[in-house]
């Protein structure tokens, strides 16, 4: 111990041992055990991981949606952070507050508001109706149906007779839509993820860009680099730690969400988070399998952290606030 003030952390170290370390160890232990339903005996096993194979679809879907959401967040978040960093300090302070403020309205409430917006007779569909976009959609579908029917009669029939196949283009696109189905689709789930986790992309990138040494940019300009070259060769590489931390902070909650998929996706297509929730509080009570899936999540996080630490500068950069 360097000096006696170090002892100030002793109670918290005990607290961490009890409420952080032991629970994590329990997840690991549960992941490698199972209970025998007939005898009630608990025994070590790898069955839980084998059982996960049946849920491969859920894994693939979760990763797919989370990756799409992360990519969209990056696409929106990077320019916003960059543009914010170019504004004056007064605007920056207000912008930071404006980004944090929605978080004070619980995320479930905000997701619920999206249910309203996206619903079949909700504001967005009403807007589309008023702007004639839905009629336009009907018109386009009608046109496509006509085109496909014409092709079916001509080119496709010729192809079928040549190859001996029985192939036809669909002519059943709906032409009497009164609304677009947006709620309870996978797109809505991605929207929910982007909406809820976008601040976690903006804040770390912004905080890295804002700390950037201005003299580096000036030096680059003085040495004759154009503004796009300054961005590519100086700003982008230097902001990479922020990007990596933003990507992690969006990807991890996206891949493990369960409320968003239930509310905006209708709960029919399970995600990893739904699967874990089902094992602990839902119908399929099996904490051993749930722990195994949780363990997989922890491994994902550890990999993300490892990648980040290789590029980033350690603890400070990893946190946005």
């Amino acid at each position: 111990m360097k000096n006696r003030l170090a002892w100030f952390s002793a109670p918290y170290v005990l607290w961490m041992a009890l409420f952080t370390v032991i629970p994590v160890i329990m997840v690991v232990v549960y992941a490698f055990t199972a209970v025998d339903l007939t005898t009630g005996a608990v025994h070590p096993t790898l069955d839980n991981f084998a059982q996960m194979g049946t849920y491969a679809v859920v894994f693939v879907r979760s990763f797919e949606l989370a990756l799409i959401a992360t990519f969209i967040c990056l696409l929106i978040g990077y320019p916003v952070s960059y543009l914010m960093a170019k504004e004056g300090p007064g605007f920056q302070r207000i912008a930071m507050v404006l980004i944090m403020l929605p978080m004070w309205v619980n995320f479930l409430l905000r997701t619920y508001a999206w249910m309203t917006i996206l619903s079949n007779n909700g504001p967005l569909n009403q807007l589309f109706q008023a702007l004639g976009i839905i009629d336009l959609g009907n018109l386009v579908n009608g046109g496509l149906n006509g085109l496909c029917a014409w092709l079916n009669g001509g080119a496709v029939e010729l192809l079928n007779s040549l190859l001996g196949t029985d192939f036809a283009l669909s002519t059943a696109r709906p032409t009497d839509m009164t609304y677009f189905k947006m709620l309870y689709t996978q797109g809505a789930v991605v929207l929910g993820m982007v909406y809820n986790y976008l601040p976690f992309m903006i804040l770390p990138i912004y905080s890295v860009i804002i700390k950037m040494d201005n003299s580096l940019l000036e030096a680059a300009r003085d040495l004759g680099a154009g503004s796009s070259r300054v961005f590519r060769k100086v700003i982008l590489p230097l902001s990479l730690p922020g990007v990596l931390s933003g990507v992690t902070m969006v990807f991890v909650p996206s891949v493990s969400t369960f409320a968003i998929s239930k509310m905006l996706g209708g709960g029919t297509k399970l995600l990893l988070g739904d699967l874990i929730e089902l094992q602990f509080l839902g119908g399929a009570y099996n904490p051993y399998l749930g722990s195994a899936i949780s363990l997989v999540m922890m491994v994902i996080v550890v990999i993300c952290m490892y990648v980040m630490n290789r590029f980033g500068e350690g603890e400070e950069q990893a946190v946005m606030l």
């Binding site: 100030f8 918290y12 952080t20 370390v21 479930l108 993300c304």
Partner: protein, 290 residues
């Protein structure tokens, strides 16, 4: 610090659009809290009756009460504990500090659901063992003790767990900025280590403490997943009440309560920011004079 030239019209409209995206759902929530009918998507005329009905709804009001109570308590406890812990970590040798900081980061980097599930497992197992012990005591020694179950206590512990790391991480940089010799100087000049802490360290890191407190409160108010796994069947935060409703039908009373909460938060933030802006201005003026 500012980066290069100010963005043009195109850039500004992009930023504005993103902010619109962030606030659109909140505006919709607020608008439909004044709706006459009980639809949350079709406007049927202006009315305030959801606000008056809100206060008669026991379920929602107790959810609000639990949310506020657990957030405030967790914030206060986590800020105090986190401040002590951060000072402790800072004064440790690197060899000890680094692994402890890594453990400290676990609840922050882990997915919420994993933190929630691990705490849930821990509480259920620990309480199971305790309740078994109580039953055994009762049958063999006729001694009894209260049995434990998931509830407000576990909810509070869980919130403190995920709040402390944020407090520590916002205080650590301030500690690093502090002059290392200040503590030694204070102790050389006769301060006890408690006095050194109170009179030297705390004032130096105060902005970090306040920042950490704000983040902790934000995290507590915003949390749903960890609460969901640790609150048990009888305790519900507002988020859990809403989650229960989404399976059937969400009452516009929920819109009313969110509008009220949003307005309160907005007012608080405006007050804090105006005050800070004033202080900054005063400080700048004093700086000029001196």
């Amino acid at each position: 610090m500012r980066l290069g030239s100010r963005p043009g019209l195109l850039g500004r409209s992009f930023t504005a659009l993103v902010f619109l995206f962030l606030y659109l759902p909140i505006f919709i929530l607020i608008i439909f809290s004044f709706n006459e009918g009980n639809s949350s998507s079709v406007w049927q005329g202006f009315s305030l009756h959801w606000y008056s009905e809100l206060f008669q709804d026991r379920l929602i009001m107790s959810g609000v009460y639990t949310t506020l109570l657990v957030s405030l308590l967790a914030t206060v406890i986590a800020t105090a504990a986190g401040t002590f812990a951060a000072i402790g970590f800072y004064n440790m040798r690197r060899r000890w500090r680094e692994p402890l900081m890594a453990v400290n980061n676990i609840p922050m980097v882990n997915a919420d659901i994993v933190t929630g599930v691990s705490l849930c497992l821990f509480f259920v197992a620990a309480f199971g063992a305790w309740n078994g012990f109580v039953s055994w005591m009762e049958t063999t020694y006729r001694l009894t003790a209260p049995r434990l179950a998931l509830g407000f206590g576990t909810l509070l512990i869980a919130h403190i767990c995920f709040n402390i790391p944020y407090v520590i991480l916002s205080i650590m940089p301030k500690l690093r900025q502090m002059d290392k010799n200040l503590i030694d100087a204070a102790q050389d000049l006769g301060c006890t280590w408690m006095q050194a802490f109170r009179k030297v360290v705390v004032p130096e890191i105060k902005p970090g403490i306040i920042n950490g407190m704000l983040i902790a409160f934000t995290m507590s108010i915003d949390d749903f997943v960890i609460s969901y796994f640790t609150a048990g069947a009888k305790t519900s935060t507002l988020a859990m009440v809403i989650y229960g409703m989404t399976k059937k039908r969400v009452s516009p009373k929920i819109n009313a309560i969110s509008t009220l909460l949003f307005v309160v938060v907005l007012l608080l933030l405006v007050i804090v920011n105006v005050r800070q802006a004033r202080q900054d201005k005063a400080a700048a003026k004093n700086g000029h004079a001196g």
